[in-house]
């Protein structure tokens, strides 16, 4: 046990690396206070700006800590670890946070300050989660993401969104309980919660038993719930359909990437640098194949764009997992490249789904003929969908090529047939995904709509959409810059 003085010293040393999270805590408090202090009129005018500035400040703080971080730094008595991997993911979360504010601009006015406060809180959870090196912190951080998420789902304040929120809550609490049970079993085996420690590694090295396998599977179940990956995915469509569009975009990116981040760290720990006698890559490969196939095939049947995107994001989680299977530096770097592109493309798509939703275009069929009345919006949306499919000339294509190249490389080195199966199944899934990603463009360009939708009030949306599209195209033609950043990242525990 540490003495009080040592603890204080830890805190004192850690705080300067904890800047982005402190800013987030501050932002959370300011937003809550402003919902109490500001009157309705003021709130309506200024709350978007306040939220945007606060999240921009967080992003800046994360950029600063990106520049500071070169190696792993333990924080707060080793509860958290600041690593390049974690900081890069935090950068992604903060970008997602800023985009969420932009997507919610001048919409969902009711209780807006609390809405942003909850987003900030979930962001804080994601930040802490990817830094965790202790199972207790993992649990706390996941709850910190989950609780605001349940509330945010209900923010449309309709019967449907209440239903979605309740479902999410019930599923979520069961998943947390399962994970907590797994953690307690694992503690019984290892006598430590710190999964990066020597003690942990030694303990599991000598106890590669079915009992250990089950306890890890229970923990994975909780993490897969956050990632919305098979077999823990069934909550996603209902929740996505119920929640406000910017929040869906947020859900489909931030908790997912945070979950992937901690999954990678945890898998690195239990893989024991390849010395584990339980071959975890088989488990991960099976999960990835199932996630990808179920997500894509289920998306084919959807009639609501948000439900379709829910299944799409399940399938995309499968590709992220494919990047993670091999647990090599290369694979994980490419997974982060994919994650970056996925974030941008997904926000682009939800930007327009939300935009059209406000013009009361909700079903797939009501997109008919939009291509004529809202040509620019429809074309930009098309680019987003093409990038999610992974066709050139968008960054989605390059990201896919990278992820699958690293998988091929692992096959080349190890000669494991399973990798090749994942490789072929994964790429063939692209054809399936094209079919449903084309559904919206199919309606908007090929079908003739009966209702005419005015295209006014869309220049702001289109400007943001255009910027995202330029980034997606730019990352295809000039990927070197981003890859240079990613090359800095190391994935040691």
């Amino acid at each position: 046990m540490l003495g009080t003085n040592e603890k204080l010293e830890w805190i004192q040393l850690s705080l300067k690396y904890f800047l982005p999270e402190l800013v987030l805590v501050g932002a959370f408090l300011i937003l809550l206070l402003s919902s109490l202090v500001l009157n309705k009129g003021h709130q309506k005018k200024s709350i978007d700006w306040i939220a945007l500035l606060l999240l921009m400040a967080t992003l800046m703080a994360s950029v600063i800590s990106w520049n500071q971080t070169t190696a792993n730094i333990p924080l707060f008595s080793g509860m958290l670890t600041q690593s390049t991997f974690a900081v890069y993911l935090k950068l992604l979360f903060d970008v997602a946070g800023v985009l969420t504010v932009l997507l919610s601009w001048k919409a969902y006015e009711y209780r807006k300050a609390e809405y942003y406060a909850l987003v900030t809180c979930a962001l804080l959870g994601a930040h802490v989660l990817v830094m965790s090196s202790n199972l207790i912190m993992v649990f706390l951080a996941i709850e910190l993401i989950s609780l605001p998420s349940y509330l945010l789902t209900a923010f449309v304040f309709s019967k449907k969104s209440m239903e979605g929120a309740l479902k999410y809550f019930l599923f979520g609490s069961v998943a947390s309980a399962i994970m907590l049970y797994g953690m307690s079993l694992l503690y019984g085996i290892t006598h430590t919660f710190d999964f990066t420690s020597e003690v942990f590694a030694k303990a599991i090295y000598y106890q590669q038993t079915p009992f250990f396998f089950i306890s890890v599977c229970l923990i994975l179940a909780g993490l897969l719930f956050k990632i919305a990956s098979t077999p823990m995915h069934p909550w996603a469509p209902d929740v996505y359909e119920a929640a406000p569009s910017p929040i869906v975009a947020f859900f489909s990116v931030v908790p997912k990437l945070a979950g992937i981040g901690i999954l990678v760290l945890f898998c690195l720990a239990i893989d024991l640098k390849g010395n584990s006698s339980i071959r975890w890559y088989i488990v991960l490969s099976l999960i990835a194949i199932l996630t990808l196939s179920i997500g894509n095939f289920a998306a084919l049947l959807q009639k609501n764009p948000k439900r379709m995107m829910a299944y799409s994001s399940i399938a995309q989680a499968g590709i992220l997992l494919i990047g993670a299977i091999t647990l090599t530096n290369q694979g994980l770097q490419f997974m982060l490249f994919y994650a970056t592109v996925f974030l941008l493309a997904n926000y682009l798509v939800f930007l327009y789904i939300g935009h059209f939703e406000r013009k009361s275009i909700v079903d797939m069929e009501s997109y008919a003929g939009i291509g004529k009345s809202n040509a620019a919006s429809s074309i930009l949306l098309l680019v987003g969908l093409i990038s999610l499919t992974g066709l050139p000339p968008t960054a989605g294509f390059l990201a896919k090529v990278f992820v699958f190249s690293s998988l091929w490389n692992s096959y080349e080195i190890s000669g494991q047939g399973l990798y090749l199966v994942v490789f072929v199944v994964g790429l063939l899934n692209t054809v399936v995904s094209l079919f449903f990603y084309l559904k919206i463009p199919y309606q908007s360009f090929l079908k003739n709509g009966s209702n005419t939708v005015p295209s006014e009030n869309s220049w702001g949306v289109n400007l943001l959409g255009f910027l995202l599209v330029i980034t997606l195209l730019g990352l295809f033609f000039l990927p070197s810059g981003l890859m240079g950043w990613l090359n800095r990242i190391t994935f040691a525990l």
Binding site: S405, W408, G417, T430, V431, Y442, F445
Partner: protein, 539 residues
């Protein structure tokens, strides 16, 4: 000046597309700009011809600039270049593309529905086709190859016929399936080969030239013949060949992967049908000659009989299906399947005659099928009816139209004096010779394939008899259709095509001067490297 000719050819239409997009909607400028760009490309192509030296083999007019260069830690470096160049295979096809795009633009002159979008997409498609034929870097090739799909999807899906949505989705999914198979092999190749002139770190280059050189295969990589990795009892190299073969086979299209073609053709507007048949199908044959055979010559020598078999099946099945078609456009679509079978047979023989015949057939079919689809379009414009049984005795009502159709049909069925005859003769020569020279395919393939010629004559003559001979009769659903003969715009499109097919039929040297050096070196490299690699596998 001439070091930028190919870039000019590729980027002119993209600039044109941008101009069309920013112009106000509802004007007629779009089509004029599209035509202007197509004509400018014609001018550029004349410069290219002037700069091209037919006495040389290998790539000419090359342009190379660094595009992506990523340091990948343990992998070494991954590099993709903007690398475009022409050789005896690319040049005839680029020429064909330039020419067909001029014709297609004229043929689109009367498009009414959202003109701006139509011509912008047409120009984008133009750039993608040019890029595909010029690219010598696999990633660049793949980029253009995929980039063709989207404009084509919309061109069929928005401006097509009654079942256009079904046809466009089917086209997109089939082709994407093929390109995913190609992508799989591309990733494998990237990681299994290195660049020729790298020092120190390994450079994984996308350059097709580097990939073709078997000395560049990394040892202990998946595609290393010495490692001899197998999957389900079949060598990984053979798998790669099969994947590429299917990928390009879908595009070609070969039976049984052809089912998207009749639908796409029947639903597409005339100009798009012309482009589809004349250019997009050629990319399948181009891919076989440029990528599949040179990159996996050992597997090619094992499986050429299979390629030839599918070629013969396509020839016979396509001809039989054409004979059974009631819709004139469907008939011509199936005749395309039949004719592209000759390309497969020619490539499979790996002889100079066969390879040259395959390229010749691609150009010849490009010209003739363009003519055929234009002729169907002419009739459809007037009557909105393509059913063969509804017409008879048209020759008395539309004599000029009849003479062009007669010429196109005869050219297509391979009558001496037309380009199709030259191409098919060369393919047969190659296929007969193959068994004696390199033992790849048996003579019986060529013998069975000749049956395709007989069937071709049968369905074309039967169609002529049904539609043009006898007493004039037109069973129409709308009564007051006036069957007027060809107008000047239509003759302007058809006459050059007719002249070219005759010219290539009488003076084959016009084309063979370009093709022969390529065919020679293709045959030589495939046979030599193929044997060398096979010697490694089975010492």
């Amino acid at each position: 000046m001439h070091e930028y000719l190919l870039s000019l050819l590729i980027f002119l239409p993209l600039i044109g597309a941008l101009i069309v997009l920013v112009l106000p909607a509802g004007t007629f400028y779009g089509r004029s700009i599209a035509l202007l760009i197509a004509l400018l490309q014609g001018l550029v192509f004349i410069f290219i011809l002037a700069a091209y030296d037919t006495s040389l083999t290998g790539l000419q007019l090359a342009e190379r600039a660094r595009w992506i260069s990523l340091a990948m830690g343990t992998w070494g470096e991954v590099r993709a270049d903007y690398f475009v160049a022409l050789d005896g295979l690319s040049l005839p096809l680029v020429g064909l593309s330039v020419f067909i795009f001029i014709i297609a633009t004229i043929s689109s002159w009367k498009v009414e529905k959202s003109r701006k979008g139509y011509f912008a997409l047409l120009l984008v498609l133009n750039a993608a086709v040019m890029g595909t034929f010029c690219a010598q870097d696999f990633l660049l090739f793949y980029l253009f190859f995929e980039f063709m799909l989207l404009p084509m999807f919309f061109l069929i899906g928005i401006w097509g016929g009654a079942r256009r949505e079904y046809a466009s989705i089917k086209f997109f999914l089939y082709t994407l399936l093929g390109s995913i198979l190609i992508l799989i092999v591309m990733i494998a190749l990237l990681l299994s080969t290195k660049s020729s002139n790298d020092t120190g770190t390994v450079v994984h280059s996308f350059s097709i030239t580097d990939m073709t050189n078997s000395a560049n295969i990394l040892s202990q990589s998946v595609l290393d013949p010495q490692r001899g990795l197998e999957l389900f009892g079949i060598s990984v190299r053979v798998w790669a060949f099969i994947f590429l073969f299917i990928g390009f086979g879908i595009k070609l299209p070969m039976v049984p992967l052809h089912t998207w073609l009749p639908d796409a053709h029947v639903e597409a507007p005339t100009a798009i049908s012309v482009l589809l048949a004349a250019l997009l199908l050629k990319i399948g044959g181009y891919g076989l000659l440029r990528i599949t055979y040179p990159l996996f010559p050992d597997a090619a020598m094992q499986l050429s009989w299979l390629v030839a078999l599918f070629g013969v099946i396509s020839i016979i099945y396509g001809a039989l299906a054409a004979m059974a078609s009631k819709d004139l456009k469907r008939l011509i679509a199936y005749s395309s399947v039949s004719h592209m079978g000759f390309v497969l047979l020619g490539v499979a023989s790996v002889t100079t005659e066969g390879a040259a015949g395959a390229v010749y057939q691609m150009v010849s079919h490009g010209v003739i099928s363009a003519m055929l689809f234009l002729l169907v379009g002419v009739l459809y414009d007037r009557t909105h009816d393509r059913m063969i049984e509804n017409y008879s005795g048209l020759s008395s009502k539309m004599p000029v139209y009849f003479s062009y159709t007669l010429l196109a049909f005869f050219a297509s069925l391979g009558l001496p004096g037309f380009s199709g005859f030259m191409a098919e003769v060369m393919v047969f020569l190659g296929a007969f010779k193959s068994n004696g020279v390199n033992g790849l395919i048996h003579e019986s393939f060529a013998i069975v394939a000749t049956l395709g010629l007989v069937l071709g004559a049968a369905y074309y003559l039967w169609t002529l008899q049904r539609m043009f001979f006898g007493k004039y009769h037109f069973k129409s659903s709308t009564e007051n259709t006036s069957l007027v003969d060809l107008d000047q715009r239509e003759i302007l499109m058809l006459l050059p095509l007719a002249l070219i097919t005759i010219a290539f039929g009488i003076f084959p040297q016009l084309l063979l001067n370009f093709i022969n050096p390529f065919a020679d070196s293709f045959t030589e490299t495939v046979l030599q490297t193929g044997k060398a690699i096979q010697a490694i596998i089975r010492p």
